[in-house]
Each structure stands twice: as C-alpha cells, then as structure tokens.
Amino acid sequence: MTTPAAHVSEMGESALLIQSGGPMSLDVQRLYWALDRSCRDLPGVTETVLGVHSLLLRFDPRAEVAETAARLPELWSETRPAEGEGRLVEIPVHYGGAGGEDLAELAACHDLGIDEVVALHSAPTYTVFALGSQPGFPYLGGLDPRLATPRRSSPRQRVEEGSVVIGGEQAGVIARTSPSGWHIIGATRVSLFDHARDEPALLQPGDQLRFSVEEVSA
C-alpha cells in the first residue's frame, strides 16, 4: 500500500493534528496506530489522541512545537503499518425487545427480516479504530454495508448504557447513558467503561470485537 497523504495543522497553542482523508480503511488506520506509538516518545509530547485516520499530539506548553511539526511529514512517510491483531472481545447481545427498539424499523427500511439483520450484524469481526466521544466508546470498522443507516433526524435525549447501535456506516455500543441519534438494535450487559477498574476502558484501539446472539425478541 502507498502511504496516503497526511496534513499537519496547529490545534491551538500547544497541539498538532495530523490527519488523512476517507473512506475509513483498516490499512490507513494501522499506519496511525504505528504513528501513535512512535509519537509518544517525541520531545515535549504529553498526550496523544487517536482519531479515525488522525492523531492529535498535545505538547507541554513550554515545549517548542515547530520542530516537531517540521519533522512529522518525514516521520509519517517512514511509518509502517502496525502489525498483529489486538485481543478478540465478545459482546453478547439481546437483539430487539425493549432494549433494541429500532430493530424492526431498521429491518423494514432495508427490506430485510429481523433474523437477517441479526445475522448480518453478528457475522463480521469488527475492529476498534479508536476510542472517543464518550468514555470507552469504540469507533468500530467492519459493519456490513447493507446495514448502513443514516442517523435519526433528531437524536434521542437518553440512550441507555449498553445499547448496541448503528449510525451511518458505523456500528457501536453506547458506553455511558447519553443523548444519541444512532439506531438502537439491541443491548448488552457488558460494561465498556468503569472508572474503578484498573483498565477503565474495556477496549483498546486495534482490538477486535464480535457480537454474539444471546437472544432475539420481535
């Protein structure tokens, strides 16, 4: 694979953003996972924030950002994809019912049966591209394009933690009860984030995820 173009820009007084365009690609994301690892050791870097095809670098406010900004394009061109697979995490899902209220409507909108939606959603191995938006929330790649569904025209004010959701071309699991415009097709009892755990976030970028069928309700 040829390394795609990446643009470096300032994010305020002491941060840099390096980003590439879409569409979402695991090959491109592997480069950003590798870049993340090499950037953590750069002088003055205090924190790195992975996005989808992007990396935000925060610097000590006393550090000189310009030198790193100048070096980043070269570092990017030398970056090789991160190798290996992350852990495989299984998420048992109760599809439909009270905890998956949009399942029937989503199936109807794609002209699919409920069982077909469940089969298509639980078949792939998804990859955690990055975490963000809310504590522990994974940006997942790997949704079957037949299930891609535009977000609701107006978001719900309250979507429960553990809701298994689809928004656009992405699958997700709501990690903290919050407003959301994604479609709710099921629920899991697995907790994606617990501040009291040694590792608060269940998933890490690069991890793989499978949804298993615990129960299907009409």
Binding site: H7, S9, E10, M11, G12, E13, S14, A15, L17, Q19, G21, G22, M24, T46, E47, T48, V49, L50, G51, V52, H53, S54, L55, L56, R58, P61, R62, V65, A130, L131, G132, S133, Q134, P135, G136, F137, Y139, A175, R176, T177, S178, F193, H195, P200, A201, P205
Partner: protein
Amino acid sequence: MIRILTPGLGATVQDLGRSGLANIGVGRSGAMDRRALRVANALLGNAEEAAGLEITLGGFSFEALEPVAIALAGADTGATLDGRPLPRWWARTLLPGQVLRMGHSRTGMRGYIAVSGGLDVPEVLGSRATDAKGGFGGHDGRALKTGDILTTAAEVTGSRALDFGLSPRAWPDLWADGSGETEVRFVPAMEWADHDDETRALFCATGWTIEPASNRIGYRLDGPEMVPTIRRELLSHGILPGTIQLPPSGRPVIQMLDANTVGGYPKLGVVIDADLPLLAQATLGSTLRFREISAAEARAARRGEDDLISAVRRATSHQRKG
C-alpha cells in the same frame, strides 16, 4: 465540613481537570474559569490542584458546620455572609452556623469557592473534577443537591481568622466584567484555509451572539452564515476545549470543558487557553468577538496567566500568616 442549603442551577466540584485520558474518551472537565479557581486557591495558599466549587449563575448557599477558611472568586454574585455583603476576590474564615449566599450573577456566569486545603473528594482517574458525561469524579459524579455535605482537606486551627482580598485598584483585570462584549483570541486550525479572505474577515468582524443553549459542553453562536469555499466530510478526530467548529449550519460552535474528546466538524481555530476564562464568564445573549493570533503569542499569554497567579500568592502571603 459544609452543608449545601441551595445548589442553584448547577454547582459542581472542580479542579484543573484531567489530562492524559482522551485516548480512552475521557475529557478534561475541570473549572471553566480556571483563572478564578487558581486565584481562589492562591488566596488560601492551597496547592494548584486543590478542588473547589464552581457555581453557575449563582442562587447558591451553604452553611459552615465547623470553622472553615474560604475564598470567593469569579463572577460578581453579590455574595453575603449571614446577610452582610462579602466582596469579590475575598478570603474569609467562617464560623460554625454561618451561612454564605450567592445571589444571581448579572455580570458574569460562574462563581468559585475554594476551601482551605481543597475539598476532600476522592481522586478519580487523576483528578477531583466532576465528569458529568462519565458520571464520576467530584461529589458522586454529579451536580450538588440540597443537603449534600462536603468535607475540607485541611482543618482550621487556632490561628487568626482570614479576612482579606484583592482590591479593584490593585487588580483591575480581575474586576473587569463579561456583561457587554467579550473578545477572545484564537489560533487558526486546519479548515480555516477552506474560507476565502472575505469570509475570514467576516468571522473576525462579527459580533457573535452567545445562544442560551450554551453550557459546559459547548457554546453555540448566532450571526451571519459562514460559507466555506470547500465543504469537507471529515472523519472523527481529536479535539480540545476551545476548538471552534463550523457545522453545516454555518454558525460556529465552541467546544468547552465537558465536550467530547473527538469531533467531526471542520475547525476554524482554537480559542487560546488563557482566554477560556473569558468565555466561561461571557453571559448568555452577550456578544463575542474573535481575534486571530499566532501559537507563539498564545503561549506568551499562558505565561501571563501563570505570572498573575504567582503575583497573587506573593501579594497575599503575609496576610495568610498573620
């Protein structure tokens, strides 16, 4: 110990926030007006990271259950102690049974109260700040309610009672208010380049109105529609408090301390850290203007904030020791 009598519209325990956890989706949280919280802690000789109270729009009161040294900072809330006015930017020792009240602020948005030694709430993920979205940190991860009891980390011993503060004559910057028009400085970001000279000039010339739906998560601005020359669909990327986004509506949104760690809208720029306190105090419905500066100038402004806090500590140290 203090007992909350009326919590107002939203009072939370905050410190200077969390860092290093955005990679797992945990945001910064912390005081919106960090300058005010830092001054309050400086008045009491507290550590920089001591936790205090952030009170939004006043309407807050508490009772001291034991002797407690406090410092008031931030917006002018017409605070009173047992009905007698207490000046802004003031340190005072309260006796058991005394009641401190904050009225409804007219010229700012957020008042702060530091207590001697800081509020004694558990440190969660490296900070005592309330993370409202995550439901952790601060006092049980939530805004304060009537009857909540908070303990202070340091007891007031027999030394002399505190009763001093920072005068408007000596500290004019602190006494300025945010009721009219607020100017904040920003460093341009990636998609600033997607706008022609005219649109960029419009952004800086406009007096933007802060919409009532603005809060700790973000500020929505009303004004002319900003039309980019190129419309981009961006993938989700890391953002910071202060990030000025431009959604398809063409009206900017500024992400604040409880914002998401990632976003997908184009970015016009980032409000500099030294000016986030001005945003924190800019009243809903008031006018906001933007001025473009360089990252180097922004870093100098941040050093200026540190110098201010050091000056407060130096100027008041003899009054703490008595």
